[in-house]
Symmetry: C2
Subunit: 218 residues, 2 copies
């Protein structure tokens, strides 16, 4: 969801006090993401924007917790988030990352409005836009083309999730790490070693060994 080839929509015809709190950059990147898949009229962009709540968080802020009901989807304007789960021994298992331009939520909890299994936490200082479930439903009702947008980004997320399963089953640990470096260079700069190892399904010691091996080779 990069914003190349997109002309920012700054001439909004609906004004709303909540919009004034947002920085134009926020509006540009989130609307660019939507416009990649559906064309929005200015009033539709403005309505969408009025449904979003901006939030700035420092690194290591908890945004969702297991056992609680997830009531919003989160769009990352700038920064990085991770979702993870804790096993019985309180070991962290990273499920996904969300970088600038990506959406993240505890989907199970958001859909079913039941207590979730995931924590969502910022890996770096982050600028976010929150879309509450209630506003998301209102959005579908008032601008049905958002069904299409969220269908498409959910399809993409499903492909990514299945690809991760395939990679875990078929690639060597080293191949998985090389893939990761290509896909998540920003995470390499802000996440601790154990977080990256956890996402890749290996111990931090084993990841260190792979890194040393790759460093010697290059």
């Amino acid at each position: 969801m990069a914003d190349s080839g997109f002309e920012p929509l700054l001439q909004l015809t609906v004004t709303d006090s909540s919009m004034l709190r947002k920085h134009p950059k926020d509006i540009t990147s989130i609307i660019a993401g939507v416009q990649k898949y559906v064309k929005l009229a200015d009033e539709e962009s403005a309505l969408f924007n009025s449904f979003l709540e901006p939030k700035s968080v420092p690194r290591r802020t908890l945004l969702a917790k297991e056992g609680e009901i997830c009531r919003q989807s989160i769009f990352v304007v700038d920064g990085a988030l991770k979702s993870f789960t804790l096993d019985k021994e309180s070991n962290e298992h990273v499920i996904s990352f969300a970088l600038s331009g990506w959406w993240i939520a505890d989907m199970y909890s958001l859909i079913n409005q039941k207590p979730g299994m995931l924590r969502i936490e910022s890996l770096a200082d982050s600028e976010l836009l929150l879309l509450s479930k209630q506003n998301q439903e209102l959005l579908y009702e008032r601008v049905p083309k958002f069904e299409r947008f969220f269908r498409i980004i959910t399809e993409n997320a499903l492909v990514a999730s299945q690809q991760r399963i395939i990679n875990n089953l078929t690639l060597t640990a080293e191949e998985r790490y090389i893939n990761f470096m290509e896909k998540y260079p920003f995470v390499l700069t802000c996440a601790p070693l154990h977080t990256i190892a956890s996402y890749l399904g290996m111990t931090p010691e084993f990841l260190s060994k792979i890194r040393r091996r790759l460093a010697t080779r290059s």
Copy 2:
């Protein structure tokens, strides 16, 4: 996508020669699945139905192959399918199952119309309905509420895929097998041991050991 609480829509107002080839049971189960999430007028059900191609396949029929472009979504009226990938040593890794009432496709290939990575094969004699990508796009155009339906079932598939990742990371092999027995009792009756072991990420020998241990305990 069970069809409980659904009154079959048999009074179709549009007639189409392709509909006549289908058994009413096919129509009932697929439309029941859609009606769980969106209300369809009779004409909309009939149009949807006219886009579907029925297909009966015996056990072990290949329906999609890696390296080929996936051109359709498959709905299972009756039977069971699996999707899997082969690694460099031709070991089979099962990615997902689809039972009666479920949809399956190589989503990466279907969305991007690029060569896929998955094989899809029947585990049992199966009755299927095929929705080509072209017809699916036409459907979105002519009955936009299908965007909502496919958004919701894709969200459910994403939750299931993430749940599988969480289970693999946090549950013991025995817990994963017990979960599997609850979720896929039909697969237990028709899939060979190595297929189930592959889905659970363990060797057939290890799965046999777990089965023996559970049998002794019960």
